[in-house]
Subunit: 677 residues, 2 copies
């Protein structure tokens, strides 16, 4: 026979705590939240038999010892629920405790016996014993301890008089026994010596609100000079900030601002050779003038950068920097730390390659280097350098080509210093890899949105992003374009294509961004047919943008961003719901805010060429309009419509109104407070 | 500033292993399997960058040190898969390892460079270094080590001659380089020093096959005497075994066989008083004659019981005993271990109660006793006692009213001694409680099946039982009746009701059972209207059953059980699939077996009163009959039908054929081996 299994140290912990949620991989990674959230926790908790249980939600700031707690409330089917407030950025831990509560069980059964008219002498004597034990636990509060002892004495007196004051009919009306004082005392001093708590605590990483709700504007500062051909400076870029602010953005994101390599520098349109005046790609980082902590001299000085950042902040915006961990052959690290790169047998350094392509202007860092610890420190110090200059938002280039253990450590390091730091993952790769980057700490992530143009694709993708297992950690940031992505839809769809993609990006998720001025000026010519690269891309050359052009979308964008700021429903992702419409070229979805504001209904055409119409049915959950009529106000166009019960007709003309953002108000909502209920 | 986060001891474990499945609560509880299963494991595994990874499934018998392993195969989208054989009962552990494989990456890239016609001198020299390192790892196999060194030398020779034998065109056809010997050697000696393996290993508890596939027959041995009024004995019960075997059952389950209490003994029809001849309820366990390890003298001796068990086994059946952990007031433990019961203030022992009901013939055990360890040992010893008498299957009464930690320990104790032990949980309670009992080790579970009579209810319930999170641990055992459950459907539906409920129970899940002879004799009168208790229930009195009655369902049951034994599709739960039919009184579902036998299609009327007809469409996954015609053979009735593409008509008459069990065979399946494909 095998040796006996060992018993637990305490076999009388009879409550089972199961399936605490939200969680990411059962606590291997943190859930994400933002400051001000009421963080709702659910758990399946139950005991054996009919005994009553009590369940508490425990929570604390990570790094503190003392738990706060709040009672969980049963929702039926062994599901319990409670919430706590996420008060400040940083990590909170939470867990759930449950125990069989002898006092509550006694009280529940006593009430039933009394109700059934059954004599309860023994129950009263048992209660007296339980109350005396509770009085012991109450000893830090003299008044309560005394009250419990008095109740114990009272119960015994009643027990001695089972056909008089201790009769069920008398006890049913005894003040404070079944309701009031005694239940309150019993709830305050439970016996928690056999409490069950799961081994693993869960964590929620709390970001500031901008991690969940932000509108990004990417631009190249070197293209901001008013004189064509002159390299733009931070001072020029500062002059453009009011223009960006007027459009309503809150994050200005700059491609890398560091010295650009000269060896193998790329020419315009990604030509492998460059001329003397060609500025090169900002992502070929590093030259004799410095690396990831230096500033490209043609943009200005560190002071100029700080002045730029300050100006943005005065205007209510934040500057986000690009962190691209790769080096031009001229980067100082190449000479100082050749061991951080992969050496070849001939002593050369291996450049980036993806057979059969070679990228000779770029050396990747080798995360398998023997000095990985030194490399990690240096990379962290790049972030810390810019955080010391006041930068708290970073867009990280290709994080999926660097080791995951590095990111997990790095994010933890950075959040230790400033839990307000926000990292956006620029990983356009396989879904599980993108999700893992979010799990290890990226606050926001690029997505496949740019390529989701059909209704079915959009609906499925939103379902995927909002499903359990994704929504707890992955915050999508939708970009209709980037310097690398000019989709066929934008190339060929004209002005309506830009408008409808903007509305989709800005209302499907709470984080979105555009690469401008290319976007608002509807730049749409690819380098060559079939390519998603821009012709004459700013990545390889200076551009001058006619920001005042008559047909610019800047005012349209400003309107969309104003609606986003005014409508809390657009500042979250979890209330998105699609609604039926009998036309595959129209997508209808709603968002609401638990705060009680009117819900919004977005009706967007996916066809930039033809007028589309259809019948829309909003009489479904979660709007709850069953059989009612209501008013729709188009926050984009200003028109108002009265819609009746059943399906209602919409018509979207690409050049005048490819999209509506409706505020929906039931007709009787204003007067219901005076109603008969 | 907070202290820096510590780095991992090895930051270069670049592979991420995620979501290994199946699992139950990420390894908190074991998954269940049965002997002979090919146990399929999946995991999401990926690294950063384009480097190639390799992934291995590791598994071992629990308690052994050495892992066996098998390569996992990528299925796309970062999903990897492999299987291992569950060879014997007991626990197996499994986990997944992955690593970035420099050899595989090198070989993949080399092939691409060669294919692109790019010179590979440096790649060859890098390969030589990798092979020399591999030769070091191969040092226990002299031949392979030597072969690797030879290849290294060969690569260097080619590198020295880049426009001759080392040219891409020559290398593309070099024997053993891109296919054959070198790839094989490289696969055999990877560098696994930076392998990733999740902290927690998963466990699969392997049962013998009967845990998943069994047909139970419950009967009261005391009602087997041929003389009305005489208490049946084990000898009488033995005489009934051939009758049960002819019906095709493989588990005979007896209600408790222990001495029955005399104090407060219940009379017929659960009357609170009994007369001198009343036998009492077998669940009121214990008298002066003994407790849970004793045998009720009127049934016989321990030897008689063992003879009965042996006779059952000769006939190919197994005996299951009832374990009901509760005591009559006369149970020896009441005097020997009063501390195992809850004492009241007047020195009495608390009987079972659920206000406002009291059960004065029963004392529950107190799992909060100070001597819980002694109690646990005594309860375990009850099982061990009967296991020593050769019993390996137990039906446990009301396990949800005993502490969960006890069951988890107990099952582990019992399986340590005999991993072939099977416990059936008789918990009719809330779903999460029932699932938890399965998680802590119950091999089979009673269900809500008896009350699921509408089509929608049945479909939803089967979906619930087969969903991830349930199917890994919960094995349903469907009972159309029990001594406690005579449903309204059986009370009122007549013979067709019994027939169709039997077919549903026997084909929807692989484990099922009936309480007989009440079932085959269609006993259907309740104690009173609205009750689910039998009138003159055997629980409280002796009965004599006319087993040879002309209208008995015994031959019908025998046919159903024979089909179950002959058709592997009915011996598992995971291939169940419902099919459309345009009549809510008919349910159509299929089951198949991966072994390649023909799939079965069950077509069952839910209406015991009227003939029902409808159009059935089987042209959907998973049967894959798109556009084909096929033959259906009714294994119950023997008829054959040819069905064409599209919907086909069925008609179910309650008294002649309330159900079909069709074997489905495509018309061309016999001849396809001679076909043109």
């Amino acid at each position: 026979m095998s040796p006996a299994t060992s018993k637990p140290s305490e076999g009388r912990r009879r409550v089972q705590v199961d399936a605490i949620r939200p969680h990411v991989d059962r606590g291997r990674f943190p859930v994400k939240g933002v400051v001000g959230d009421s963080f709702r926790v659910e758990a399946d908790v139950f005991g054996d038999s009919h005994d009553r249980i009590r369940v508490q939600l425990l929570y604390r700031r990570k790094g503190t010892r003392r738990w706060s707690e709040t009672p969980m409330v049963p929702q039926g089917n062994d599901l319990w629920e409670a919430s706590f407030l996420l008060e400040e950025p940083g990590a909170y831990q939470y867990t759930v405790e449950g125990w069989v509560d002898a006092l509550l069980t006694w009280r529940t059964e006593l009430a039933k016996w009394i109700d059934a008219g059954v004599e309860v002498e023994l129950e009263l004597r048992e209660g007296a014993l339980l109350l005396e034990a509770a009085a012991e636990r109450a000893k830090e509060n003299d008044d309560d301890a005394e009250a419990l002892r008095l109740w114990a004495r009272q119960l015994r007196e009643w027990a001695d008089d089972p056909s008089g004051r201790g009769a069920p009919s008398e006890l049913a009306v005894a003040p404070g026994l079944l309701e009031g004082e005694l239940p309150r005392l019993m709830e305050t001093y439970p016996d928690r010596s056999r409490t069950t708590r799961p081994r693993r605590t869960l964590t929620v990483e709390v970001d500031r609100k901008r991690a969940r709700f932000s509108a990004w504007y990417e631009f190249f500062p070197r293209s901001t000079s008013p004189e064509p051909g002159r390299h733009g400076t931070f001072a020029d870029a500062s002059a453009m900030l009011p223009y960006i602010r007027e459009m309503g953005f809150d994050v200005v994101y700059l491609p890398p601002i560091h010295p650009i390599g000269k060896t193998k520098r790329k020419g315009p349109n990604n030509r492998v050779t460059s001329g003397p005046g060609d500025p090169g790609s900002p992502w070929a980082i590093g030259s004799a003038e410095g690396g990831h902590t230096a500033i490209h001299p043609e943009l200005g000085t560190l002071d100029d950068f700080v002045a730029f950042r300050r100006r943005a902040e005065e205007l209510g915006m934040e500057v986000a920097l690009d962190v691209a961990f790769q080096c031009s052959p001229d980067h100082p690290w190449v000479a100082e730390h050749p061991e951080w790169f992969r050496q070849r047998p001939d002593g050369s350094i291996r450049h980036a390659e993806n057979p059969p392509k070679k990228y000779e202007d770029i050396y990747p860092l080798d995360f398998e280097t023997e000095d990985w610890e030194g490399l990690w420190d240096a990379l962290r110090d790049v972030f810390l350098h810019w955080m010391e200059q006041g930068v708290r938002i970073f867009r990280v280039d290709n994080p999926h080509t660097k080791a995951f253990p590095f990111w997990e450590w790095l994010v933890s390091e950075l959040r230790d210093r400033d839990p307000g730091v926000i990292l956006l993952s620029e990983a356009f790769t396989r879904p599980k890899v993108m999700y893992r980057l979010a799990k290890v700490g990226y606050a926001q992530s690029y997505t496949y949105f740019a390529w989701r143009t059909e209704k079915e694709e959009l609906v499925r993708y939103m379902e995927e992003l909002n499903r359990p297992g994704v929504r707890e950690h992955f915050r999508p940031n939708f970009w209709p374009n980037t310097p690398d992505i000019l989709t066929e839809f934008l190339q060929t769809g004209g002005r309506p294509a830009f408008m409808l993609r903007l509305v989709l990006a800005a209302t499907l998720t709470a984080n979105y961004g555009i690469y401008g001025p290319a976007f608002e000026l509807m730049e749409h010519t690819p380098r060559e047919p079939g390519s998603e690269e821009y012709l004459n891309s700013e990545k390889y050359q200076l551009r001058t943008w006619p920001l005042d052009r008559e047909d610019s979308l800047r005012h349209f964008i400003a309107r969309v961003n104003r609606i986003r700021r005014e409508q809390p429903a657009l500042q979250r992702n979890d209330t998105l719901h699609f609604h039926p419409v009998d036309n595959d070229q129209i997508v209808v979805y709603s968002k609401s805010d638990p705060g009680g504001d009117d819900p919004l209904v977005m009706i967007v055409s996916l066809d930039p060429r033809h007028t589309q119409s259809g019948w829309v049915d909003l009489h479904h959950l979660p709007l709850g309009l069953d059989g009612e009529s209501y008013e729709l106000e188009d926050l984009l166009g200003g028109e108002r419509y009265d819609w009746g019960p059943g399906a209602n007709f919409v018509r979207l003309a690409p050049h005048t109104s490819p999209a509506h953002i409706f505020r929906l108000r039931p007709h009787d909502s204003g007067s219901s407070s005076g109603g008969s209920s």
